[in-house]
């Protein structure tokens, strides 16, 4: 096992810069997830750690060793590929032990590790089959098996679940979590699915356009997004971003006024002062999950009511129901539970805890709570 350190790592393809100076430390035994939309540089970053892409500038260390010029076969890493990359002419057994044989592991040890991996991944009945005779989920487990039998310093996962259907994806997520619990190997996992990021990670790196937007524990990112991008990218359904105005009385959202909570007053005052005390536009972020139907809400000291909101769409999902409503000029979504049995085109009163409301600078997109 080992830590992985990236210092100002840059990737260029000709004139195009794909990754701009990534600084990142992945601790020994940590499960780190790189998440972001397509083309954000997360896979490129992973492939630079694997040695499959050359590093244009900066330093990559595995443990204490600088690996920039070390080819992949000498980095002692294991990797799970999106398309499994199983050797089609080798049986499941041969696929799994291929790397071990290369490393000249004792046959008894190979046998032991194969048996353990096969049991853990429930592959025992398939060991003599060729990959073509396996289902997608089974292939994915073989790819996983190939990684875990190796005594690798780091496990790398490149969108390993994106070719599976929703149910399998959920099962394999649990499987990966279990593997990490058992082996405790430093893991770096790339995905575009924020649910995988939230559920698997010790820490998450949110990337966009080759930049790191935020690094933190999943719940910290969920509760305290650094900017508009992470706020809307992490969490499903996505955070409502509403246009409001900030002045000395508080934040105005249509006909509603939200007082600035004590924790954010200093930042709000500074923001106003910078604009010469004039009212200024502001982005208000509220997660659909944090709206409550006032009829059932427990009001805290920081709770505010938004009365008489017009309900446009109601989508019942079983226990939850998602409603789309109008507030000010914007439309927003709230996730309520089945107690709120409301009809479309009626009105509703929603309550929200101000501690859960975020204010973003409309120009920089930064979360004002974190600016101070």
């Amino acid at each position: 096992m080992a830590s992985v350190t990236l210092e100002n790592v840059i990737k260029r393809y000709g004139d195009l810069q794909a990754v701009h100076g990534v600084d990142l430390e992945i601790r020994d035994g940590e499960f780190m997830v790189l998440v972001g939309p397509s083309g954000c540089g997360k896979s490129t970053t992973l492939r630079m750690i694997a040695g499959l892409e050359a590093i244009s500038e900066g330093t990559c260390r595995i443990g204490d060793r600088v690996v920039n010029d070390v080819p992949p076969q000498r980095r002692n890493i294991a990797m799970v590929f999106q398309n499994y990359a199983l050797y089609p002419h080798k049986s499941v057994r041969e696929n799994i032990v291929f790397g071990l044989k290369r490393a000249k592991t004792e046959p008894a040890e190979i046998h032991k590790r194969l048996a353990e991996a096969a049991r853990m991944l429930r592959l025992e009945p398939y060991l003599d089959r060729k990959p073509a005779a396996l289902s997608g989920g089974q292939r994915q487990r073989v790819a996983m098996g190939r990684a875990i039998v190796r005594d690798a310093d780091v496990f790398l996962f490149d969108e390993p679940l994106s070719n599976l259907d929703a149910k399998l994806r959920h099962d394999m997520r649990t499987e990966i979590r279990r593997i990490h619990k058992n082996y405790g190997t430093t893991s770096i996992y790339v995905t575009h699915d924020q649910v995988e990021a939230m559920t698997l990670a010790d820490r998450v790196v949110v990337m966009r356009d080759g930049w790191i937007e935020q690094v933190g524990r999943p719940m910290d990112i969920y509760l305290h997004p650094a900017n508009l991008f992470t706020a809307t990218f992490i969490g499903a359904p996505s955070m409502n971003i509403l246009d409001g105005t900030l002045d000395a009385d508080g934040v105005h959202l249509g006909s509603h006024t939200l007082p600035v909570p004590p924790a954010k007053q200093a930042v709000a005052a500074a923001a106003l002062e910078a604009g010469g005390g004039r009212a200024r536009p502001i982005k208000i972020g509220i997660r659909p999950d944090f709206f409550e139907d006032c009829a059932f809400a427990t009001m805290g000291p920081n709770s505010v009511r938004l009365d008489g909101l017009r309900v446009e769409i109601v989508e019942p999902l079983g226990f939850d129901r998602e409603i789309t409503f109008h507030i000010g000029e914007s439309s927003a979504m709230a996730r309520l539970d089945l107690r709120s049995d409301i009809a479309e085109d009626s009105t509703i009163d929603l309550c929200v805890d101000l501690e859960r409301v975020h204010f973003f600078d409309p120009d920089s997109g930064k979360n004002l709570e974190l600016v101070a």
């Binding site: 076969q73 990359a85 050797y87 190939r146 190796r150």
Partner: protein
């Protein structure tokens, strides 16, 4: 299964109508000559007058004829040399031209030229190269490198001629091997190479464990195609080095030159045909495992 409904029967009939013309042509141009050839091999064929049935006598004469065994040996050398040579050279060229380098597309096109060139014109070119008096080969060997003192007529010598014929065939036909191998190389998933690198293999290990297994069937197909083509190959050998007697050339000389004996020639053809069928059967069952 017997077609049940009217529609199925009609479709069946239509199918037979569609393949009937091809069946007719194949029967006329391929099956009939083969059968007629087998028939002739049991006769002392008279150019004028009636053929005389001789039973297995033609075969008995062949099996005691040392010229026939010489021809078999020459054919074996020719086949092994050309099949191995074209396959290996094709593989090497394909691996090289699968790498990225400036001007690759031009080279990829140029390398096909020998394959396109008409046999008759390149054969004369090659004969000129090996000409004892004016050829560049003898000039290089004798004058420039002083390897021997004596100018040789390499092409006319049956033992050396077979080597020239083999080299000529490799040069002329490796592009087809190269083409087939390259197209397969391009379809190999790069993930596999990356996975093998991660599993600890350098370039040689990746070639051995990823490239070769992926190429197995293409290489197998090339080998069997080359075997079939070259066992029957006539014009290149005959035009370039008429003293190199592979089976088709031997058959030709027996049938149409000197003491013309078409019955004997027919029995050589039959043996060659049986040999070819046996080879193909063995190869398909044991190597390709179809």
């Amino acid at each position: 299964m017997k077609p049940q409904t009217v529609l199925e029967r009609a479709e069946n009939r239509f199918g037979w109508q569609l393949v009937a013309p091809s069946l007719g042509v194949i029967g006329l141009l391929i099956l009939y000559p083969i059968l007629y050839n087998v028939y002739l091999s049991f006769f002392d064929v008279q150019l004028v007058g009636d053929n005389v049935f001789v039973g297995l006598e033609n075969y008995q004469r062949l099996l005691t004829d040392s010229a026939f065994y010489d021809s078999l040996t020459t054919t074996a050398i020719y086949l092994l040399g050309t099949v191995a040579g074209t396959t290996l050279l094709g593989l090497g060229a394909a691996l090289l031209l699968n790498q990225d380098f400036p001007g690759r597309n031009v080279v990829r096109g140029l390398i096909l030229l020998p394959y396109f060139a008409p046999v008759i014109s390149v054969v004369f070119g090659w004969q000129f190269i090996f000409d004892p008096v004016n050829g560049v080969y003898n000039y290089m060997v004798v004058e420039v490198f002083n390897l021997t003192d004596e100018r040789m007529n390499v092409i006319r010598d049956p033992d050396l001629g077979v080597i020239v014929v083999i080299v000529f065939d490799i040069w002329k036909h490796f592009p087809i091997a190269y083409l087939l191998i390259l197209s397969k190389l391009q379809s190999i998933n790069t993930d596999l190479y990356e996975a093998a690198a991660i599993d600890g293999h350098g370039p040689w290990g990746r070639f051995w464990h990823v490239t070769l297994p992926e190429l197995y069937f293409v290489l197998g197909t090339i080998v069997i195609l080359r075997f079939i083509w070259n066992l029957n190959k006539f014009e290149e050998v005959f035009l370039l080095a008429p003293n190199v007697q592979t089976l088709p050339i031997f058959t030709y000389y027996t049938a149409f030159t000197g003491v013309i004996d078409q019955g004997l020639a027919a029995s050589v053809s039959v043996i060659q045909f049986v040999l070819l069928c046996g080879l193909i059967w063995f190869y398909v069952k044991k190597v390709l495992k179809w």
